[in-house]
């Protein structure tokens, strides 16, 4: 017989993560609501750079994903892992480093993103020093988790733990893979991969970030908290095991579905589509497993708010994971991509699946940790209904908006010309839906405030149990060959041996192949495609800083409706100097890849100063600070040097000449602007000139240069 061991669970760390989840949830949603309001009322940006849509949109996504859901993951993992393994966390110190480190990273994100410090990779916008900090804290989390697994008192690893492990392993790889960049300065870097390659790495990351940050950890939480809340075993444990392994092996291959009809090779697109469709099976297996857990307990769903939240969460998971594969079908994607349909889709996932499961877990955990009852079940039920209504008001109008706009983009008159030649018509058409969406978001947020009030009241009525005493028999250790060398262990296991050696071989191969293919791929494929001039490069970095890619794509798809509207479709060879790629994923405004030479410089000048002066009814914010600030030219040589290192063929020593060239080109543009009637003191030094230089360059490499002063 094993000896019974006494120990305690660390609730203090769970409480910290729980509070952080609620706090960052409010912050992330407030910023989201703000962004939504700016889309219907551009003046809501307070005419300030830091609070303009392009900059707060990444702030919203990062806060919602990494601050709200991130802390939610850690809250649930730290609570369930200890209980599933019958062991306290490996190290309280690591737990606390993890907690405070993660919060510091969030604060760093909240400061840098509004300042326009971004790498322009969606959901990986943070610059390299913060990337490194994330990696370190993530390792701390890993050490703590695996340490706990090693000292567990329960031999069997419950399926939830497998989901946590997969999350950790895969996020580690994704985070590193998508952040291979060369620093220019402390807060600026360029990615090693360019153009199509950068796009593929980014969406391999982007897709799997959804898979392994928003999905697998939450599935783990579902498999723990749903049965606990229902007080019933999961419907089929066997199915949960199959769910896990099937999901893990399929998910990682579906990334290219974010790049359908782009310049990505066709076969890669089809591969992504096939794997996406296969994903329906494990996803729905998981959803059904969750819902069927409640068989015979549905009467309790009527009264228990925790179960209500969880049921809607699991249903939202099922809806989103059916919709996702549908959107991955090329012909559906041709309609949905770049529209608000995508926005609705992701919000079913985040508001429904992640949000509601988080709320359910909070309502479950807080009373238990404080040894009391939930302050008000009625308020929790109200939260549930307001939140559900909020999701509906959010998603349905956006589905409508997405369809409407896409059909308008594609509509031709019998004469064979586009019906809505002015992009703006398709925007003003869906503004009522944007208003509804803001209403939906507000409702959802009201629900969260109700929850916070309820939690505060609950906390006040209870007594916090920081260290929850527990007892369990020690784990019986199988007879060990003491003093045995580790290699002897593996030798007795041929399969493991094979796998380990295979991995070793692949790593070796990678190290050899990798630098070679980088060099090879930097050879220009279209002769006319030239590197950016220093001024264009600076303008491009302004485009990145202002987050223009949040609303404008740079990827004309090979459809008649798009080539008729924008011009020749985009070719992969045009992007070889694009670090980072700026294809974007949403068209709140028109595509810009063929913008160069389409309009004169003065038009851009006036449009950026006051978009509604050139485009009445536009919802684009004005950018007056570009007209006040002088361009920081001092960073140019370092940028040229970094890009040269990465293989952009600037001549040797060009970094010394770059500033002169930049100023010469700026003078030329200022001259042109003056002849077109623009007056501004010190015009050639202003940021706007660099941005105009970049916009006028876009997509012009493979078409005739525009006539000067057109």
């Amino acid at each position: 017989m094993s000896r019974i061991e006494q120990f305690s669970y660390d609730n203090a760390i769970v409480k910290k993560f729980a509070y952080a989840t609620a706090l960052w949830g409010v912050v992330g949603m407030l910023v989201g609501l703000w962004a939504a309001i700016e889309l219907i009322w551009p003046a809501a940006n307070l005419n300030t750079a830091m609070t303009t849509f392009g900059r707060i949109r990444p702030l919203h996504t990062n806060a919602a994903i990494f601050a709200f859901v991130g802390n939610g993951i850690f809250m649930g993992v730290y609570y369930s892992l200890q209980r599933l393994l019958k062991a306290r966390m490996f190290s309280d110190l690591l737990s606390n480093i993890h907690f405070w480190g993660w919060q510091l990273i969030i604060v760093a994100a909240a400061v840098t993103l509004p300042l326009g410090i971004t790498s322009a990779h969606e959901y990986a916008e943070l610059e390299w020093p913060i990337d490194i900090a994330i990696a370190l804290i993530w390792v701390v989390f890993g050490l703590n988790m695996f340490g706990t697994i090693l000292k567990r008192r329960e031999q069997h690893l419950y399926v939830a733990i497998w989901f946590y492990i997969a999350t950790w392993v895969t996020v580690t790889m994704l985070h590193i893979g998508n952040n291979i960049e060369l620093p220019v300065s402390f807060l600026k870097s360029y990615p090693v991969f360019a153009g199509v390659q950068d796009a593929l790495v980014q969406w391999w990351y982007g897709h799997n970030a959804v898979a392994f940050f928003l999905t697998t950890p939450y599935l783990g939480l579902m498999y723990y908290f749903l049965p606990k809340a229902a007080n019933r075993p999961v419907y089929s444990y066997k199915l949960s095991i199959i769910h896990f392994w099937a999901l893990i092996f399929i998910y990682i291959w579906a990334g290219p579905h974010h790049l359908l009809y782009t310049s990505l090779p066709d076969w890669a697109q089809s591969l992504g589509m096939v794997f996406s469709l296969m994903l329906i099976a494990p996803s729905w297996g998981g959803m059904l497993n969750g819902l069927l857990t409640l068989r015979g307990a549905w009467d309790r769903v009527r009264t228990d708010p925790v179960l209500k939240f969880m049921v809607v969460a699991v249903t939202a998971y099922g809806m989103a994971t059916l919709e996702g594969p549908m959107l991955s079908i090329k012909s559906v994607n041709a309609i949905s991509h770049y529209t608000d349909w995508t926005i609705a889709h992701v919000h079913i996932g985040t508001l429904g699946w992640n949000g509601f499961l988080t709320f359910g877990i909070l309502y479950y955990l807080i009373p238990r940790m404080f040894n009391t009852k939930l302050y008000s079940t009625k308020l929790a039920n109200n939260h549930f209904w307001i939140g559900t209504l909020g999701i509906l008001f959010y998603a349905i109008p956006l589905y409508w908006a997405g369809w409407t706009q896409s059909l308008m983009w594609k509509e031709f008159l019998p004469e064979g010309i586009l019906k809505y030649t002015n992009f703006l018509e398709t925007v003003t058409q869906i503004l009522p839906m944007y208003r509804m969406r803001a209403l939906g978001g507000s409702l959802y947020l009201v629900g969260v405030f109700i929850m916070i009030y309820n939690i505060i009241k609950t906390v006040k009525s209870g007594q916090f149990v920081a260290n929850e005493p527990a007892e369990a028999p020690a784990l019986e250790v199988a007879a060990k060959h003491t003093g045995e060398h580790w290699h002897r262990w593996i030798e007795r296991r041929p399969v493991q041996m094979l796998v380990v050696s295979l991995i070793a071989v692949i790593i070796g191969g990678l190290v050899e192949i990798f630098p070679m293919m980088l060099v090879d791929d930097n050879v220009p494929k279209i002769e006319a495609v030239q590197p950016y001039t220093p001024l264009e490069l600076q303008g491009r970095d302004l485009y990145i800083r202002e987050g223009c890619l949040g609303c404008h794509s740079q990827m004309v798809r090979p459809f008649r409706s798009e080539t008729a509207r924008y011009g020749d479709y985009s070719k992969s060879g045009e992007f070889i100097y694009d670090r980072p790629f700026l294809w974007g994923s949403k068209r709140t405004g028109p595509d810009l890849h063929r913008e160069g030479g389409l309009r004169n410089d003065a038009w851009h000048f006036n449009h950026m100063y006051d978009p509604r002066s050139t485009s009445p009814g536009s919802i684009m914010p004005p950018y007056p600070w570009l007209f006040r600030r002088d361009l920081d030219v001092s960073s140019t040589p370092a940028k040229i040097r970094t890009l040269r290192k990465l293989g952009t063929p600037y001549p040797e020593g060009y970094d010394q000449q770059a500033i002169d060239d930049l100023q010469k080109q700026a003078k030329g543009i200022a001259e042109t602007l003056r002849t077109q009637g623009v007056e501004l003191e010190g015009l050639e030094n202003k940021e706007i000139v660099a941005l105009i230089a970049y916009l006028q360059r876009l997509g012009t490499d493979i078409k005739p240069k525009p006539q000067a002063g057109q």
Partner: protein
């Protein structure tokens, strides 16, 4: 487009890692019992007050 081979190899690597984990799980008896774990998690090991 050689980047795709990089990503495929990297993804395969992860998949192989998980395959190894799967083989370990099956061989070490993790899945010998595919029912009781689901029930066991429902019992909280509250410390008994008998002492």
């Amino acid at each position: 487009m050689k980047i795709i081979f990089f990503l495929i190899i990297l993804s395969l690597l992860i998949a192989l890692g998980f395959l190894a984990a799967f083989i370990w799980a099956v061989r070490s008896g993790q899945y010998d019992d595919d029912y009781t774990p689901s029930v066991r998690i429902l019992f909280d090991d509250k410390k008994t007050d008998s002492e």
